[in-house]
Each structure stands twice: as C-alpha cells, then as structure tokens.
Amino acid sequence: MALLEIRDLTLRFGGLCAINGLSLEIEEHSIRSLIGPNGAGKTCVFNCLTGFYKPSSGDMLFQGASLINKKPHFVTYRGMARTFQNLRLFKQLSVLENVMSGMHCRTNSGFFSSVLRTKGQQAEEKHIREVAEECLDFVGILDKKHHMAKNLPYGDQRRVEWARALATQPKLLMLDEPAAGLNREEKARLIELIARVRDERKITIFLIEHDMSLVMKVSEKIFVIDYGTKIAEGTVREVQDNPLVVEAYLGKEEQEDAV
C-alpha cells in the first residue's frame, strides 16, 4: 500500500494558486519529486497535505487515513513533516531550541509537571534534548547548537530546518525547494543527505524542487504538474522525453521573455 495517496485533489482559491483534480501515490521508502513551472501549484499541494489549506474537494490518505479537515499539528503528529520554501526558523531562539520544537508532538508534559519539575518531566526534557542533538549531529551542525538561529549562515539555517523536521520523527518528509539558495558544494551535500535520510532513517521523501539537476540526481520517480494538473509521471528519463513537460517548461520560458 502506498504511504501517501492523493485522489482527485482540487483547491479553488479565487486567485493564482489552484490544484485541479490531482492524483498521485507515494510508496514507502521512496524518494519522489514534484516539479512544475512557477505558479503551477506545487506549494499548494504541500499546504493542502499539511493542513494549511483546506482543499475544495478530493481526498488525501496517509497510511490509509484521510487528512481532510485535519489541522497542521495533527498532520505532523501523524508522521508527516515539512520544511518551508523560504526559511521559517524561530529566529530569536537558539539552534537547539529550534530543533527541540520538533519533539513537541512526541512529548506531553504540561504546566504542573514543568513548574514542579517532576521526574517524568526531567526525563522527558533529557530525551527531547538527546533527540534534538542527534538530529543536529545527523545534519552536521551540532557544534552550532547554542547560536541564535538568525546568526547562522544561510546554508546552516537550511540544515536547522531539516534537523527540526527530522526531530518530529516523521515517516514522510516533505521538502519544499530544499536547494534554493544553496551553492554547488552545499547542493552536493544535500543530495547525499537526502539519500542518507531515506537509507539510514527509513524515511520516505517527497520534495518540490526547481533545480532539475538535483531532482534528476536524487529522485526515483517524478511528478510534473502545470496549472494544478498532473501532466506527466515517471522516471527521470520518461519525464524528460515527455512532450507535454517540454512544452510546459518552454512555454514558461517564453512567458518570461515576454515579461
């Protein structure tokens, strides 16, 4: 059974961003990419999946259970984690605190246990810290855990976001343009990291990306959408040869020239 299944998803939004009868499936332990020209509705798909937008119709099943009408925090609790296209770190907090946020939905101490600092709460805090540090170590920035997030270089801020998403202990990790703003070297490390996340942590990966070279290198299967509709699906080679895809991208370039 597929880990994630989208059936006939439609989002009417009044304006730019819309999804039109999209269906796709993501198998466990796979790496899947969603590509498409600007404004094709890629991020909208993510926002629907993670509960930020409420789709107009259609269904989304994660491990067989519907995600319709589920709020973002519940979606995360169920095991889907995401990163954001433009960094959304907690800027005024330390790197470690940022990553610790991921553990929120896996823990449960409340007001009284915090104030009284009960044994259970202390053990939980220790556990949160350990998981967060392990995630930071995994992405390779454990040494910067006490820096304030906003003081880190851009590439490191990206890695904090991945660590934060990993800390939610997801089954599915959704990366929204993870390579945006990274240099060549950082991209290379990203490709390696994506593979490691899948192989070492057994996490399925679903990513949106603009950088075709990166998409070609990491993903096993690609979905292409344009104007909210899926126009192609398949391996790198299959997609590359698909005339619809070529048209969508070339058409887009023409538009850009016109602007």
Binding site: G51, L96, E97, S101, V115, E124, H147
Partner: protein, 334 residues
C-alpha cells in the same frame, strides 16, 4: 535568492555588561551567593526603612507579579492583551465577595479566584484566539471596560462604591495587617512568580509559546496545536493576574471599580514592553521602573504618560527587544 550572511555581533556597553553578567552567572556558586545576599537584603529591608518605602516596595513586588503574568501572554506567547486589569479585578472581586459578604477564609477563596479567571479567560480567549491576533487586542480592551462597568452596575460587587471590609488574612495565627506583613507577602509572591516564570520558560510548554510567537505556521508544522497552546498561555497568565488581584484585595481591604481602569492595564503592559517582552529580568526591570519612576519624580506627574508613550514609540521603532539586552550566546552547560 538573497544570501543571508551571518551578522557580525557588536555590542553596546550596556549589552557588554549584561553579557558579562550572563557569563559570570553561569557560575553556580556566584549566582547563589548573589541571590542569597539580595534576598537577605530584601528580607531585612522593612526593619530599616520607613512605611513609605515599604509601601512602594510592596507595590513594586505586586507589579513584578502582575507583569510576569502578563509577560506569559504578551512576552512568551506574543498575544497583545489590553485588559489585564480586568483579570486582576476578577480575582480581587472573587476574594472580596467571598470574604466580605460571606466571611469565607481568604486562603479558601484563592482556588475560586483561579477558577473564575479560567472561565473568564476561556470566555474571551476561545472565540478570539482562533482569529488573527489583532482581534484579541481589541476584545481584551473591550473586556476590561465591560468588567469595570459590570462590577459597577451589579449589586453583589458593591456597585460603584465597591466592597468594603474585606477580612485580613490569618497566617499561622498571625493576622496580616501591617504593611510589613504585606511587604513579605508580596515579596514571596514575586519570588514564586519569578520561579514559575523561569520554570515555564525552560519547559516544553514555554518553548511552544515562544515557537508560536516567533512563527505561527512553522510552529503548527512542528506539531504544535496553536489554538490550545495560545489559550493555555492566555489562561495561565490570567490566573497570575487573578491571584495577584486576590492578594491586592486583602491588602487594600476595600476595592472599587476605579482600581481596575484601562490605565492600569496599560501601565502593566508598558512595564512588560519596556524591559523586554519575554525576558524575565527585563520584565522585572520594567516593573521596577514603572513603579519607582513616578515616586521619585512626582513633579512630572501629569507628563508621565506622555513620556511613557514617547518611550514606547521610540522603543518599538528602534529597539523592539526592550531595554534588557538579548543574550547573544547561550550557556554551553547542561
């Protein structure tokens, strides 16, 4: 894509001093010795000072408590609350009514005061916290006025005259009726408030508030239920206020609607913003400034609020983090 470069951190002299202090106080021995000295000094103070000083200090401790309560809402969770005095009134009136009208022991009224604050917090928090933060601001502002008008118009609260003859509390056989008693009472309360604030700040719940304050969407994506977490901050902060109000009622022995005007809410908010929202030492500093400043400069009386308004404006535009500097590097321990 804009490349964000790491910022080179330069500190002004005050920030340097505080940064040094932070480093210094990573040392446990030093930290505890300073704390103990300070506590000893404050414990000894009533013996060596006039009633007036004690009154001001009591008032200051009281402000520390309410400011830390509001800080949970405004500073930790980033919600603008403009009717804090109303919650403070809820506590004061619950205690006042139970003790003056029904003769119930003061200490027994405290749980009721908390329950009342929770109910009031739910009543205005639940509908508004689902919406944008601005709504909360105006609703709390309105709520402050409503509570004031309601206690004025209702018989059980003693109407406009208020409640008179609230029983002084008895503590292990001692009737607390001297100003020095209340000095110690509010001193202990403020220590408890500081303690609870620190514990919350460094806890799962406290961090969740800060995540939401920093970025609501990212917090939701990390699995934090934004509405209930906000509501918890709102209610816990309100309970602080209500408890402080209960103690205020027994200290004054008489309460009236005039004690809970909009201006009181504003002064408390000002103290929180002035020192630095979310920073506990900053908030304590703000509470001290707001209570001491008018006393040492009574002459400027009527200009006080204009000065505060200008400070607030300049602060927000040029130094939104408040007077107390941020810690630039966290402790490496623990």
């Amino acid at each position: 894509m804009e490349q964000i470069k790491p910022k080179k951190i330069t500190l002004n002299p005050f920030e340097k001093v505080v940064e040094k202090l932070y480093e210094l106080f990573d040392n446990n021995v030093l930290r505890y010795s300073v704390l103990i000295t300070m506590t000893a000094f404050l414990v000894y103070l009533p013996r060596a000072s006039s009633l007036f000083t004690q009154e001001i200090m009591t008032n200051m401790f009281f402000y520390v408590v309410v400011c830390l309560g509001l800080n949970i809402i405004v500073g930790f969770a980033g919600l603008l609350h403009l009717g804090y005095a109303a919650f403070f009134a809820v506590g004061a009136y619950v205690t006042g009514i139970m003790s003056a009208t029904y003769g119930i022991n003061f200490w027994l009224t405290l749980p009721f005061s908390i329950v009342a604050a929770i109910i009031a917090g739910l009543a205005i928090g639940a509908p508004t916290l689902r919406l944008r933060g601005d709504y909360l601001a105006i609703v709390t502002l309105g709520f402050g006025e409503i509570i004031r008008i309601t206690v004025r118009n209702v018989g059980i609260t003693g109407g406009a005259v208020g409640l008179i003859g609230i029983e002084r509390p008895v503590f292990f056989g001692i009737v607390l009726n001297q100003i020095s008693h209340f000095y110690y009472m509010f001193f202990i309360l403020s220590i408890i408030a500081i303690f609870v604030s620190y514990r919350l700040y460094d806890s799962r719940l406290g961090r969740a508030w800060q995540y939401i304050r920093e970025d609501e969407d990212a917090a939701a994506a990390m699995g934090i239920n934004v509405v209930t977490t906000r509501l918890s901050a709102f209610i816990i902060g309100s309970c602080f206020g209500a408890l402080a109000g209960s103690f205020f009622a027994v200290k004054m022995t008489a309460i009236s609607p005039d004690s809970f005007m909009f201006i009181h809410s504003i002064m408390i908010l000002l103290a929180v913003v002035l020192g630095g929202m979310g920073k506990i030492p900053g908030v304590v500093l703000g509470a001290i400034i707001v209570t001491i400043f008018p006393e040492i400069s009574r002459d400027i009386g009527q200009y006080r609020l204009i000065i505060f308004a200008v400070i607030l404006l300049v602060l927000m535009i040029y130094r939104p983090q408040g007077l107390w500097p941020d810690r630039q590097f966290q402790s490496t321990k623990k």
